[in-house]
C-alpha cells in the first residue's frame, strides 16, 4: 500500500456551499461555511497560511483586504493571509500559491478559500465589475461584456471550423444531466437537444444554455505537506501531483490566434509533465465552462481533441459521466453554478470528492487521476492542477 510522499502536497479537507442566490448569507459568512466544513474533515486542523480567491468583492461589496477579513472572521487571526485575484482563474491561482508556499518548505499547512458574492448588486453593475477583467482601455470602454466577448468567440469558432449551430450543445446537456444528482447544484433539471436548439438568444449566436449562471458561493481546500499529515483522517488524502499557471494576451483580440489558448495548453502540459502522465491517463477533467466555447477550446488546448474538434467530444458521448473523459462531473459552472473567483476551488473540491470515492451517484468509477483547470478572461490566465489518489483507506 502506498505511503505519503514527504515532500508531496496533499488535500486533507474540502468544503463547498451550494452556489445560488444566498440572500441571507454575506460574503464573510459564505467563506466561513466552506472553511468550517474543510477544517472539520481534517479534525479541525488550523492552517498557517490562508489564501482567499476572489475577483469581485471590491467592486460589488466595497470590500478589499479579504485575506485578513476572512482570517479574522474564521478564527484564524495570526495566519499569513492574502487575496489572490486572477479573474476567473482566481481559485486555481490561489491553490497554486498555496502549493508553492508549502513546496518551499517555509510552511506545513495552508487553507485556500474562494468566495464570491454577486447578488447584492444589479446586473448592469455586475457586468461593469466583470468587465474589469478585460482590457479596460480597449475592450471594456467599447461596452464589451463577458457574454458578448464569448459570443464573438463562439461565432468565430463555429465559422472557422465549419461546425453546426448546435455544435456546443453537448457541454450544456452533459452539465445539466450531471447536476440532476448533485443536491448542491443550482440547476438540477436535465435538458435535451431540442431545448438547446429552441433556446432564446442572449447575444447571438450564444444562447441561454451556452452561458453559466453567476451566483454566490464559497469553496475551501485544506493542504498539508506529506511529512506533516495528521493521523486518523476520515478520507485518504489526495495529492497534488502537478501544478502550473501560464498567461497569454489579456484582450481576446490580442491573442496570436483567438481560437487557440496557449496559456491553457502550456499549463496543462506542464502539470501533466510534473506528474509524469499523458492526456490519456486523465480519467476526469473539471474544465472551465463559464461559456460553452471555453469548454471546447479547453479540450483542444489540453490535447484531448484536435483543433476545431473539441465540440465533437460533447456529441459522441466521450465527456459523459460514463464516457472516456467525463467533464463537469457535478454540473460544472453551467449547472452547479459559477461562483466567479471561487469556481476554481469548486472544481478542485469536486475532483477530490471523485478521487476519494465519495461522489455517490455522480461517481466516475475507479477515478484516480483528475485534471482541473480554470481560466481568467478569454484564456489570458490558466491555472491547471493534476490530482492523484495514491493513498487508500486504511
Amino acid at each position: 500500500m502506498a505511503s505519503p510522499i514527504p515532500e508531496g502536497i496533499y488535500i486533507v479537507g474540502v468544503g463547498m456551499t451550494p452556489v445560488g442566490e444566498h440572500w441571507e448569507t454575506s460574503l464573510r459568512h459564505l467563506a466561513l461555511e466552506a472553511i468550517q466544513t474543510a477544517r472539520a474533515e481534517a479534525g479541525g486542523l488550523r492552517p498557517q497560511l490562508l489564501y482567499v480567491a476572489n475577483m469581485l468583492a471590491p467592486a460589488l461589496s466595497g470590500q478589499s483586504h479579504l485575506g485578513t477579513l476572512v482570517a479574522d472572521f474564521a478564527g484564524l487571526r495570526g495566519a499569513e493571509a492574502m487575496t489572490v485575484e486572477a479573474a476567473g482563474a482566481s481559485g486555481g491561482a490561489a491553490l497554486r500559491q498555496a502549493y508553492l508556499a508549502l513546496r518551499s518548505g517555509e510552511a506545513e499547512t495552508a487553507l485556500v478559500v474562494g468566495v464570491e458574492k454577486v447578488t447584492d448588486k444589479g446586473s448592469s453593475e455586475v457586468e461593469s465589475a466583470l468587465a474589469t477583467a478585460k482590457d479596460a482601455d480597449y475592450e471594456a470602454v467599447h461596452g464589451l461584456t463577458d457574454t458578448a466577448q464569448a459570443a464573438l468567440w463562439m461565432r468565430r469558432y463555429l465559422h472557422e471550423h465549419g461546425a453546426p449551430a448546435d455544435a456546443l450543445a453537448g457541454f450544456s446537456l452533459t452539465a445539466h444531466r450531471n447536476a440532476v444528482t448533485n443536491p448542491h447544484a443550482m440547476y438540477r433539471r436535465a435538458i435535451e437537444l431540442e431545448d438547446y436548439r429552441k433556446a432564446g438568444m442572449v447575444s447571438e449566436p450564444l444562447n441561454l444554455y451556452d452561458a453559466a449562471p453567476l451566483a454566490d458561493g464559497a469553496a475551501a481546500v485544506l493542504l498539508v505537506r506529506g511529512d506533516r499529515l495528521p493521523p486518523g483522517l476520515p478520507h485518504p488524502p489526495t495529492r497534488i501531483a502537478g501544478s502550473a499557471m501560464s498567461t497569454a494576451a489579456l484582450a481576446l483580440h490580442d491573442q496570436v490566434d483567438p481560437l487557440w489558448m496557449p496559456a491553457a495548453a502550456e499549463s496543462a502540459g506542464r502539470a501533466l509533465q510534473q506528474a509524469g502522465l499523458q492526456p490519456e491517463d486523465v480519467q476526469l477533467f473539471e474544465l472551465h465552462d463559464r461559456f460553452s466555447v471555453h469548454a471546447a477550446l479547453s479540450l483542444e488546448a489540453a490535447g484531448f481533441a484536435a483543433r476545431g474538434r473539441g465540440w465533437e467530444l460533447a456529441h459522441n458521448g466521450t465527456i459523459a459521466l460514463q464516457g472516456r473523459l467525463p467533464v463537469t462531473t457535478f454540473g460544472g459552472s453551467k449547472a452547479r453554478g459559477d461562483a466567479g473567483g471561487a469556481t476554481g476551488l469548486y472544481q478542485v473540491a469536486e475532483a477530490v470528492v471523485q478521487l476519494q470515492g465519495r461522489a455517490g451517484e455522480n461517481q466516475v468509477p475507479g477515478a484516480r487521476v483528475a485534471l482541473v483547470q480554470c481560466l481568467g478572461g478569454a484564456g489570458g490566465t490558466a491555472a491547471t492542477h493534476l490530482l492523484v489518489q495514491e493513498l487508500e483507506a486504511a
Binding site: 466583470l130 470602454v141 461596452g143 461584456t145 468565430r156 442572449v202 483580440h253 490580442d254
Partner: protein, 134 residues
C-alpha cells in the same frame, strides 16, 4: 471623470494611431512600446488606414453600467487591413445584415457618457464600407 486617462488615449481613440516595430515591421495596435511579436522596443508611431473587415460580430442586450441607453448595440472584432484585430461597436448599419468578412471603415463616434453628468467619451466604431470606397 478620468479626463486625463481619456486624453492620454486620444490618438488611439480618434485617429487609430499605433506603432510599427522597427525590427520585424509588425504593425501594432494598440501601441504598447514593446513588440508583441519579437519583443523588441517599438515606439515608432504608425497611422492605420481605418479599413478592415469583420472577424466576428454579435449584439449586446445586457449592457454594463453607462451603456444601458445604447443597448442593444452591435459589437464586433475587426481585422484591420494592416494586421491587428480590434474590438469595437459597429455603426450606421441601417438594414444591412452583418457578415464575417464584410469590409468596414473606422469612424469616430460617441462611446458613452462618463458618469451621469460626466464628459462624453468618443472613440472608434466601424461602419460598412460604402461602394468599396472610403
Amino acid at each position: 471623470m478620468e479626463t486625463s486617462r481619456h486624453w492620454r488615449l486620444r490618438q488611439q481613440r480618434y485617429a487609430l494611431v499605433g506603432e510599427v516595430c522597427p525590427s520585424c515591421e509588425q504593425r501594432i495596435f494598440p501601441p504598447r512600446d514593446l513588440c508583441p511579436d519579437c519583443g523588441e522596443e517599438a515606439r515608432e508611431l504608425y497611422q492605420f488606414s481605418g479599413r478592415g473587415e469583420v472577424y466576428s460580430f454579435t449584439t449586446v442586450y445586457q449592457a454594463p453600467a453607462g451603456f444601458e441607453q445604447e443597448a442593444p448595440y452591435p459589437m464586433a472584432m475587426v481585422r484591420l487591413e494592416e494586421g491587428p484585430l480590434v474590438t469595437a461597436q459597429l455603426t450606421d448599419l441601417g438594414d444591412r445584415a452583418v457578415q464575417i468578412g464584410m469590409p468596414v471603415e473606422m469612424v469616430t463616434r460617441k462611446l458613452r457618457a462618463d458618469g451621469e453628468r460626466g464628459m462624453l467619451v468618443y472613440g472608434y466604431k466601424f461602419r460598412p464600407l460604402l461602394n468599396g470606397k472610403s
